[in-house]
């Protein structure tokens, strides 16, 4: 029995680019994650295409670890323009939040530039292929993958994050675990990679192999201090976060802090700004069972949903944000500052020394965030500022003429058809995109139905509150009073003449002035971009909220997991080499069992695995005596293989559904007759630690002390550990010697 295991890195090997790997197990081909970098580098796609010239239609399943762009960004493109068709496996939150990530990404791009790599329909189509699973749910693959099972295990980092275990015949496990976080956080419990111990093959990342992290408490304190000082000096804080992953941890933390009266923060405002902030928080509310034990306990006991925010205001646009009173702290997407509101705010706020910008993750190389993090003292950056502006002057005229012509043409064709339904159709399209059809005029209003949900916010109670009877309209504004008189409504005092900053950057003052332009709700727009040099005068800091295991922990976990083969990917050359050297020295892995592939390299990790089943007969089992070692029981058996002619009819194999037709004959293992049993050397299993053994000796009333690493008992017996775990027992011929030896033997499982 040989299992073929082939591994190809399509992206994210020997560098920090988003992960995307091909894994072939026998005839079945998995695509492990499919990340796309923030610039939509076509090289990844090319690499996939080239590698996948024969692969693409061969990919049988996609496994997704996390919902962010770096882990599933390529999915809509693969499923859309590249027409990949296969099931995709992801946990329920990865499915939900992944959609949020993609919607936000699409919308952020669309807000500032022409974006046509994929459409929202592609996103929906891609996510329709996702098969949602739970943690620890074993999925048995069918067809070509018969005999393979896949299981997702909690990986921390982001809600629903998964480490995948691919099992073959219940024995040969392949574990794919990257970007996991073993630490408990506010909203997530840590990954338990240790529980997947001794896999046949482990594919893991070296991303953080060299990083050292501050303690969580200090880190949180640094963040709060930064926010508080900035707000107190009347500056605004921009915290660049992702759409639906790490943002949950941060927003939950900040809302909690804001609730604390003593923090002194309640006087200021805090907002969460992304295109899908409302939905993200709604979904987070319904995923309590995926979060930490503490969270679900809190919910069970107090019915207070941890994501029912008291202070965080949810905003969908810069206009919404403008309503929030300054000074304010804003959590805005994207974390890479490549697009989205965070970039807009960066451009606005960076030059004011009062403000503070906090970056929370390093993101992929080449991003603005990455540049800033690597040099926090950067005096200025040259940025390409993209924006969507309204048409004016000649362009507007040209557009109008074109529109008119089209309208005429339309009318003409309508007349020809002599039907009036077309107006309905127009209405329909008008619902979706306010501007009439024109390829150069992408909609401003989000097309997707998930985007507009503000009305739902108004009503959060279970039941109807008041009963209304049919009557004439009469709006009665309720006035609320407190001890100082009527409560002040901020809207009443807002200067009416100033139009809310309509998603346009304040620097383009020339763009304001086309009020008269159109009777259509959304004026025609175009995308322009210019390179601007921005002076970074605000305070700029990087506080690590990536939620990934640090270097030391990665190594510690590796040495517990002890894979039999190891593939290291996703990490800079330095960290990859560092982790490789560590693995070679500390894991006892042979050279041929450790791989650090380069992008495009196809490596063969096939192994011959030897497994067959035998049935243990009662005669054999009644003769063996088990001894306990950790969680298992061990015994020595001497048996005799025997093929019976007739297998008992009531036989039930372990491997259910193994096809009724192919009933393999299982040999019996009989007890060997006593006269044939050859003795075997005793096997000493599970050696004790000397320190533990000392306790045992002391308990037994023997004096024992360490002296230079040697445990000396009653000054006449010495116990020491030699190389290779060998234990040496020395002493004079005395009673203690035998006592110590007896106790020492008791510590082992001896068979």
């Amino acid at each position: 029995m040989t299992s073929i295991i082939k591994f190809t890195a399509l992206s994210g090997a020997h560098d920090e680019a988003p992960p995307c790997y091909l894994l072939q197990v026998d005839d079945f081909c998995f695509l492990l994650d499919c990340g796309w970098d923030p610039h939509f580098n076509m090289a990844t796609v090319e690499s996939v295409k080239r590698q996948a010239a024969w692969h693409l239609h061969q990919i049988d399943a996609v496994l997704l670890s996390f919902p962010d762009q770096a882990h599933l960004g390529l999915l809509p493109y693969l499923m859309g323009p590249m027409e990949l068709k296969c099931p995709v496996y992801a946990t329920v939150p990865v499915y939900k939040m992944g959609q949020m990530f993609m919607y936000d990404l699409y919308q952020s791009r669309k807000n500032s530039e022409e974006f046509d790599l994929f459409t929202l329909d592609d996103v929906d189509k891609a996510f329709d292929n996702i098969i949602q699973v739970k943690y620890a749910q074993t999925v048995q693959l069918k067809g070509k993958g018969h005999g393979l099972t896949i299981t997702a295990h909690a990986a921390g980092h982001m809600v629903g994050g998964a480490m995948w275990k691919i099992g073959k015949d219940e024995e040969e496990d392949i574990v794919y675990a990257i970007d996991y976080n073993h630490k408990k956080e506010r909203h997530l419990d840590g990954a338990l990679l240790e529980s997947l111990s001794r896999p046949h093959l482990l594919i893991t990342g070296a991303y953080n192999a060299l990083s050292v992290q501050a303690r969580r408490k200090e880190r949180d304190q640094a963040l709060l201090n930064n926010i508080l000082t900035t707000l107190r000096r009347d500056g605004n804080v921009l915290i660049a976060v992702d759409t639906a992953g790490r943002v949950l941890e941060l927003s939950q933390l900040l809302d909690q802090v804001w609730r604390n009266q003593e923090s002194g923060l309640c006087a200021y405002s805090i907002a969460l700004l992304s295109n899908v902030s409302y939905n993200v928080i709604e979904f987070a509310k319904s995923q309590v069972e995926w979060m930490s034990d503490k969270m679900s306990r809190m919910f069970e006991e107090n019915r207070s949903n941890p994501f029912q925010f008291k202070h965080v205001t949810l905003c969908h646009s810069l206009a919404d944000l403008a309503q929030v009173r300054e000074p304010k702290a804003v959590l805005a997407s994207m974390s890479d500052l490549e697009c989205g509101y965070s970039r807009d705010l960066f451009v606005q706020w960076a030059s004011n020394p009062k403000n503070s910008i906090i970056l929370t993750s390093r993101t992929a190389p080449g991003c603005l965030t990455h540049t800033l993090v690597s040099n926090l003292k950067l005096p200025s950056v040259d940025l390409e500022v993209r924006k969507r502006v309204c048409l004016e002057g000649e362009e507007l005229e040209a557009f109008k003429t074109k529109e008119r012509e089209e309208k005429l043409a339309n009318e003409a064709s309508e007349k020809e058809a002599e039907v009036y339904e077309s107006s309905d159709e127009e209405m329909e399209t008008g619902d979706h995109q306010a501007t009439p059809t024109s390829p150069s005029l992408p909609p401003r209003v989000p097309k997707h139905d998930l985007m507009m949900v503000e009305e739902a916010k108004a009503r959060s109670s279970f039941f109807k509150q008041t009963k209304s009877y049919p009557m004439f309209l009469c709006r009665e504004d309720k006035t609320s009073w407190d001890e100082y008189g009527e409560a002040i409504r901020h809207e009443d005092y807002q200067p009416k003449d100033l139009p809310p900053p309509q998603e346009t950057l304040p620097m383009d003052t020339e763009a304001e002035g086309d009020d008269k332009s159109e009777e259509t709700a959304v004026p025609p727009t175009k995308c322009v971009s210019q390179t601007v040099s921005i002076n970074v005068r605000c305070s700029l800091s990087f506080i690590d909220f990536e939620g990934l295991s640090d270097g030391d922990s990665v190594k510690r976990i590796l040495s517990i997991v002890k894979p039999r083969q190891l593939i290291l990917v996703h990490g800079s050359p330095d960290s990859t080499n560092h982790l490789r050297d560590f693995s070679l020295s500390s894991l006892g892995l042979a050279k041929g069992k450790l791989f650090t592939p380069h992008v495009g390299e196809c490596l063969d990790a096939s192994t011959e695995s030897h497994i067959y089943q035998v049935k243990l007969t009662d005669s054999l089992m009644s003769a063996v005596g088990f001894s306990q070692a950790r969680d298992s029981e061990l015994a020595w058996v001497d048996g005799n293989v025997q093929f019976t002619s007739a297998a008992p009819s009531g036989f039930k194999g372990q491997g259910e559904g193994s096809g009724d037709g192919v009933q393999q004959r299982t040999p019996l293992l009989n007890a060997l007759p006593h006269n044939q049993v050859k003795g075997h050397p005793s096997v000493f299993i599970n050696p004790p630690r000397l320190a533990d053994f000392k306790q045992v000796l002391n308990k037994a009333g023997l004096q024992a002390e360490f002296s230079g690493g040697v445990l000396v008992c009653n000054k006449c017996v010495a116990v020491r550990k030699g190389e290779g775990g060998k234990i040496k027992l020395e002493g004079t011929v005395c009673e203690e010697y035998y006592k110590v030896r007896e106790l020492l033997y008791e510590q082992f499982a001896i068979i």
């Binding site: 001794r198 058996v637 050859k678 075997h680």
Partner: protein
């Protein structure tokens, strides 16, 4: 005590006997509690109370068992007859195993039982447990997600969606290769917010199923709903008040969804208020809004747009004091069987007016007022002992989400379990179902199905020939096995899994490491080396002289024990690697040397 257990656990693990013993819900409805024993593992399924009884009488027959021995307790859903005795069992007995339920069940369990404590405080002095016990029990309960596999000391189990109520689960257990499915209460019909019970992808060897509705066949969902809304419409149209006694949670949410929709489509009814009198429902609102993962596809899709559990025509009634009883209205009130509480109070107030009506919408247990009312008596007795004439209309429209005969028999037909154990059904219903199932399969040659319906405390005993399969791995398995081959190695038992490997492979397949012990014993020795050699050669006849550590040494027993002779210090030291045989050799060598020392 410990000794007795040691004796019993040994053979129990080897035994092929599987027993299923209902401690409650055996030929009755209420206090579900089923004990399952196999291979020394003891599992309790559900731990409910009997709604028709009170105090200790309501408990299942837990005195039949030793709570301390139970490894695992699984709760299928939050109804009192499935989890009502849990705080008592966790806090007042010696139970120390693990308890599991789904997230939604746990969240509702907390508030439902707290409500139960409050309600029954009025009627019974003899409380089984207090609010404090309930709170403490929360810490002991672990949660499990649907489809998530959990392994507890070799017992593997996972849950399927069961329909019925939010968070209701069917549990599949696997012990030593034998699969047992316990359905709890389940429904195979999708309704407004819950999905139909799933059909497990693997067929169990034993099915423990509810039989509440026996051989009844339910009305079609749309007909039933039309009858329900029609009846209500009639009652309020004739100026009457409509009482719907319901369990505060579970089916009530389904009825609310139906009513809200009906009112929305009938503007003429907008003047007539619908009240939902339950403080509990308000408390559990957040639960319903949170665990949408346990609901059906419709709700999951809808929730992204707006929350269907925000009702437009239904008001919450905090207490009876707020209620202004002036004209026609619809009230849903708990408890569902009108044992006491608000539904009883309203019933007693309204039952004398023939314009009013009561709609019993759920299953009623023998001995409750709701069940009594269904027999259309002319008089009822109030809680205070007064007799009142019953003039209001009584209708029975079952919305309880239990399977009917069609669903149950279809479920069994698909799974084809060799053994079926019926629980959770009145004696007669259960007998009818059993007869019907026996009839269905008696002429079937291919399927041999046995159907059991044990009484409380009566055990069903089944034998499963437990095959012990071991996987031979590593260097032992490099060649395929052949007849008569001798296999020697370490057998590792973990739970019910066996592996056979070579000791050298131990560290590469398990977390266990092997080690060796080198021993050295020293003693004073004044005689010459030649004497030592001579005597040892007498012992073994293969004594060899070697140089070890730069000193002369005698190696005996094929070199496994060596005696090093140190001139200058006048000592000898015996060296060997620990092993049961070699230890004996060393002892022999030592005795020879001691003999020389004592008698040179």
């Amino acid at each position: 005590m410990a000794k007795r257990k040691a004796e019993t656990s040994g053979p129990a693990e080897e035994s092929d006997l599987l027993t299923i013993r209902p401690l409650g819900a055996g030929q009755e409805v209420g206090r579900s509690c089923i004990m399952l024993e196999f291979k020394g593992k003891k599992i309790m399924l559900d731990c409910g109370i009997h709604p028709g009884l009170s105090g200790m009488d309501a408990l299942p027959y837990t005195d039949m068992i030793d709570a301390e021995d139970i490894d695992l307790l699984l709760i299928t859903h939050f109804h009192l007859d499935h989890c009502g005795a849990l705080p008592w069992f966790l806090e007042k007995t010696t139970f120390k195993g693990r308890v599991f339920m789904t997230h939604a069940t746990k969240a509702i369990y907390r508030w439902l039982l707290s409500d139960y404590i409050k309600v029954s405080n009025i009627s019974t002095d003899h409380m089984l447990y207090s609010e404090k016990d309930l709170e403490k029990s929360m810490d002991k309960i672990e949660t499990v997600n649907f489809h998530q596999e959990v392994d507890v000391n070799g017992v593997k189990f996972w849950c399927y969606h069961a329909g019925h109520v939010l968070g209701a689960a069917m549990v599949m257990m696997e012990i030593a290769g034998v699969k047992i499915l316990y359905t709890g209460d389940f429904s195979r019909v999708e309704d407004r917010h819950l999905m139909a019970a799933e059909i497990p992808s693997v067929s169990p060897d034993l099915l423990i199923t509810e039989s509440t509705y026996g051989t009844h066949v339910h009305e079609k969902r749309d007909i039933r709903e039309a009858r329900f809304t029609g009846t209500i419409h009639d009652i309020v149209a004739r100026g009457g008040r409509c009482l719907i006694p319901v369990f505060a949670l579970g089916r009530a949410q389904e009825l609310l969804l139906i009513l809200d929709e009906y009112w929305a489509s009938h503007p003429e009814l907008h003047d007539i208020p619908i009240y939902y009198a339950s403080s509990l429902a308000k408390k559990c609102m957040a639960v319903y809004q949170t665990y949408i993962g346990a609901m059906n596809e419709n709700i999951r899709r809808q929730i992204a747009v707006s929350n269907p559990f925000v009702f437009k025509h239904i008001s919450n009634l905090k207490s009876i004091d707020q209620f202004d009883d002036v004209g026609p209205c619809v009230i849903m009130a708990s408890p569902g069987m009108m044992q006491s509480g608000l539904s009883r109070q309203l019933f007693e107030t309204w039952c004398t007016d023939k314009r009013n009506g009561v709609i019993v919408a759920g299953y009623c247990v023998e001995g409750t007022l709701a069940k009594f009312v269904l027999s259309e008596p002319s008089e009822i007795v109030t809680l205070s002992g007064q007799k009142l004439p019953l003039r209001m209309s009584v209708d029975y429209i079952s919305f309880s989400a239990h399977t009917d005969y069609e669903q149950t028999s279809e479920f069994i037909r698909i799974l084809k379990p060799p053994h079926v154990v019926l629980v959770h059904g009145e004696q007669n219903e259960m007998a009818r179902l059993r007869a019907a199932l026996v009839r269905e399969y008696e002429d079937n040659e291919e399927i041999n199905m046995e159907i059991h319906s044990p009484r409380n405390t009566q055990a069903v005993e089944l034998y499963y020939r437990g095959e012990k399969m071991a996987k031979v791995m590593g260097s032992l398995a490099t060649k395929p096995p052949h007849e008569g081959q001798t296999l020697s190695g370490v057998l590792i038992k973990r739970g019910f899994n066996y592996h056979l490997i070579d000791p050298a492979d131990l560290s590469s397949y398990t977390e266990l490491t092997t080690s060796s012990i080198q021993q050295r014993q020293m003693l004073k020795f004044h005689s010459p080396f030649s004497l030592l050699h001579h005597c040892l050669n007498q012992l073994t006849s293969d004594a060899e002289i070697k140089m070890l550590h730069g000193k002369r040494a005698v190696c005996v027993f094929g070199g496994s024990v060596s005696v090093i002779y140190d001139d200058s210090a006048e000592t000898v030291s015996i060296e060997w690697d620990a092993d049961s045989v070699t230890d004996m050799y060393a002892d022999a060598v030592l005795s020879v040397i001691l003999q020389i020392v004592s008698d040179p």
